[in-house]
Symmetry: C3
Subunit: 434 residues, 3 copies
């Protein structure tokens, strides 16, 4: 206890204040408003014929706020189901999220490309920073109760940095498309957290296992977290997809996937329960796996039918994971996955990557029409943002899809693409290609 | 206990999985993306001059998310005020809502019209499915604590089906306008639930009445539900009204109705309380009656003044119902209305229908201008969606209003209507008439 | 107890019902739909070429709902950290907020200008009414546990009236710009509340001090309030700023200020804690000070760097205030500030006013471009709404900035202003100047 008191009294203030001062200095030297938040630049756009109502704020901010609620309320309260760590969960979640979103702005800015030596910030960088924060909070779920706040801050510094590099590799080098982050957010966050949990393995933690039990009110608080994550997952997956049908379709696919996943979770949970009662941990976690599993394919023409199959599978995999895999992870691999992130984010994330690859491989102009261009377009020279085609080297068929896309988007081509160009203002075209 | 365990162990998994498999098969054969979610169709619209920013997603999705929060957080936590059923409330609410929204998509699709044998889905079908789900959850409030999850799923299957048929009769056959669902959602849900409660009447439930008492923390959880319902009711009532002034006005009328209703509730609750203390059940429920009672008339030119009178009356009726009518219902009619849905949804819903009929009867072109067309337009040949005129056969005066509307909308007419046509793109006109 | 029972039984019903009847009568005689909520007037705009999608509803309603959540959930649950007053906090918060928003509509309408003897209402009046309500709830925090609901209603009547007058003086007479209300909402609310707390000083309240202690579940409920306030503060500060870059920039500046403030709060809280533990009261309150302190300057070109410095300072000042100033206030000035509103709203509000004045003084056309016009424009003859330049008489340098603004906006001038005029439709220009 004395140790922990010293830790908080000295190390936590030093960590918080030094990190914040470093961030402020870096923001002062490196960060600038982007075209849509800078008064002068935006009013140049206005002078060139844009309307204030074209500002991206109006098309992204409601999604951003939903994502924000998932990060701070959803993740924060989800983990309160462990009575012993209820307050740590919410309190530390708040601290590391507030830190990680600042650090993520810098790291994602560095890696994803600077503009004349400056990082440009606006609503999309805010959403991406929250996404990266989400990944850190997933890892937090794997180590909850085993770490001090200072260790969590150190973990955040490292994880955010690696997240940005991994995101760059997946989206830019491999050219994969992963708007809802099945791969970049969930799979990365889960396996990073499990790795840390392995390092922090303490055999005698077993003895305090009863502390992991949940109680009545803790379960109700946890349901606040669960339900907010569940409700706003459509916003999460669609937050940075292309405007128009993409955003609309992604939200709807996620909605159906989650609904099917919930039915699968309730059904399976009752089957595997030893006393025939629903296991609250399953409901609080596995019902969300449907959102994870359509993170990659959700913006494609997956159809409600396809989304429901994916959600149903994700819920099944997740409940079975909680029941059969988690004990094995702990006993054989010495990984104490406190909140079961392997079952909620790990396996469903891998499932999501596979579904995304398959769905992308099946993409044809017959199904997508001109939408294929916008959805799968890769601009090799520009800095990538989420919204690119799946180009996993393992999947040969993929490359055909790529060829189709590139062919379709070659500038100066004939056909429907030209029609498209004529009706778009330069500004709109720029946004589509952003 | 053994019985209940068997129920969960066998019946619940079977029910969940069979129902979900049926739904998935029906979605696979019958459900398609609509024009705004299908990549190919939307990009045809883009090629025809639409902008991505015209996608209905941007005008409906924030409302949808508010409605979603009402369904899953609002209804879920509202019912936690009964300590004994706190977790059932949230947990079963989650299950039946996730099921009902899928089933509602199919049933509403069947009844409200197919497109070449297919049900088209998009943001409006999502909102309508959530509305139907709300009706099921109202009924759930009447039978809370008396049903197993399997019984609730069976009830949902039946109620959603009847809801869709009733909605078709009210909106399409009778041609009534009921955007906020005073009639179709609240009145229907309440009386359906009361009917089921009557069937499930168990005289010895009286003995366990003390379990119905609320406690400190349960009351705080219930207030989460109440306040979310209260705050987002303006979004609920305006979610599927016509774009523009209709949506704006509906939200505002609901806001004022609820504020006035809350003052009436606090005032009346203190009057009727036996010990001079505010009754938490009144505050958690009756304060919401103002939202129910402007569900039909809210989109009309009810004025803030009119909305407040309606809200004040609704709060009064609801508190008096809790105090004097509920005991009578239980003793004389053998209806144990666990959450008092008759007081929150039943009577205020009927009040709302009456207010809607009167307000519609008073509608004149002098007050609405060209807005009369959009608000009260009925297209008899096309598939109806909420947003139609009240045509209750009982109200003769009504028909005059209808004649005015139809007259005003006759194609090829002179005057302001023609001016309107000239400034609208075909796409906008289509949306207005949708 | 008998006394309190009588109070509730007689005085509360009388107060609620008489106040509501007065409000309804005043609404009936004085309040009208504005151009965007009135069916006839809006359809005139449509006939003149506007689109339904131009309705201000779509650009303000999501922000309004976020503000609404802050008022009813944020303030309501924030104060539950005092276990003794948990339910009072939420229940009375609900009552006085529902009353204050109606009264504020009238008072702000009177003071800020009538249109032909009528108060016009729409989404902006709704946001402004919620803002005024926020100020009342801040004062409520200072007197929590010392007042009956009837006293709170009386306080609301007086405070709302004075708020409207003060707002008129600050925004219209002094011409200050204060979109997020550092001055008009937070500083006013805090010092009004402290004044009332001084009047209500009861020396023997000390003896029941242990009732002020917080407990486990209360802390979790309070975190719901804190986190909702924290998340939606960007919406609060940007809700009534000008459309386009202003709204976008304000939200982003607030986001960064709050993140930096949170790190400062955790750091400082651990330093000043007597046992090396984080003080939950600090985290629940001081972490929010960053939102208060950028309420005035947030819409200016403060930069993320500047916002973070302001947030860091606000968090520091707030934690130190809780630790060192609150005991002094109670002992020396006999002010029992129950929730510490002086530390959360008082001092950070004053800091925000200073930051706003300095930032406005540094505003140049070089930084803002044509945006300077829109941001700092003052129309002396028209009714002011938030969104005007800081013109505190104390700051001489300010007047230069004013001259620049006025110079830039003179009608019929040469240069970029003319370019601007040519691309704007009359409707857009009107909105910009609104």
């Amino acid at each position: 206890m004395t140790n922990s008191a010293t830790n908080l009294r000295l190390k936590l203030p030093i960590a918080c204040i030094i990190l914040e001062v470093i961030i402020i200095i870096l923001f002062g030297t490196l960060v600038q408003y982007d075209d849509e938040t800078d008064a002068k630049l935006w009013h140049k756009e206005i002078a060139n014929g844009s309307s204030n109502y074209d500002n991206n704020f109006y098309y992204r901010y409601p999604s951003f706020q939903d994502v924000h609620v998932m990060i701070f309320i959803g993740f924060g309260f989800l983990m309160t189901f462990l009575q012993r760590y209820g307050f740590s969960s919410v309190g530390f979640n708040f601290l590391i999220a507030a830190f990680a979103l600042q650090w993520a702005t810098l790291m994602q800015g560095f890696v994803h490309g600077m503009h004349g030596g400056k990082i440009h910030v606006g609503i999309e960088s805010m959403i991406n920073a929250d996404f990266c924060t989400g990944s850190v909070l997933i890892s937090f779920g794997a180590v909850l109760g085993k770490t001090s706040p200072v260790q969590l801050l150190v973990m955040s510094v490292i994880e955010v940095t690696l997240f940005a590099i991994n995101e760059f590799i997946v989206l830019s080098v491999l050219g994969a498309k992963d708007a809802g982050g099945s791969m970049t957010i969930h799979t990365f966050g889960a396996y990073f957290g499990l790795m840390v949990a392995r390092v922090l393995y303490r055999p005698n933690l077993d003895k305090s296992k009863h502390k992991n039990c949940s109680v009545y009110h803790s379960d109700l608080f946890a349901m606040i977290g669960t339900i907010y994550l569940w409700m706003f997952w459509p916003s999460f997956n669609s937050a940075v997809t292309a405007h128009g049908d993409d955003q609309h379709r992604t939200a709807m696919n996620t909605y159906y996937s989650l609904a099917a996943c919930t039915l699968a979770t309730y059904g399976l949970s009752a089957v595997v329960a030893h006393d025939g009662k629903l296991d609250m941990v399953h409901i609080q976690n596995a019902a969300l796996a449907g959102g994870v599993a359509v993170g990659t394919a959700g913006e494609m023409m997956l159809t409600p039918f396809g989304s429901m199959i994916v959600g149903f599978l994700a819920g099944t995999v997740s409940v079975l994971g909680f029941k059969f895999l988690s004990p094995i992870l702990e006993q054989k691999l010495k990984i104490q996955d406190t909140c079961g992130v392997h079952n909620l984010h790990g396996m469903p994330g891998v499932l999501g990557a596979i579904v995304g690859a398959v769905t992308a491989a099946l993409a044809t102009k017959d199904v997508y029409g001109d939408g294929l261009v916008c959805l799968f377009l890769t601009s090799w020279e520009s800095v990538p943002s989420p919204g690119f085609m799946v180009k996993l080297p393992l999947l040969r068929k993929q490359t055909d899809a790529i060829k189709v896309c590139i062919h379709t988007t070659l500038p100066g081509e004939e056909g429907s693409q030209e029609e498209l160009t004529t009706v778009r203002t330069p500004d709109e075209a720029e946004k589509l290609n952003a």
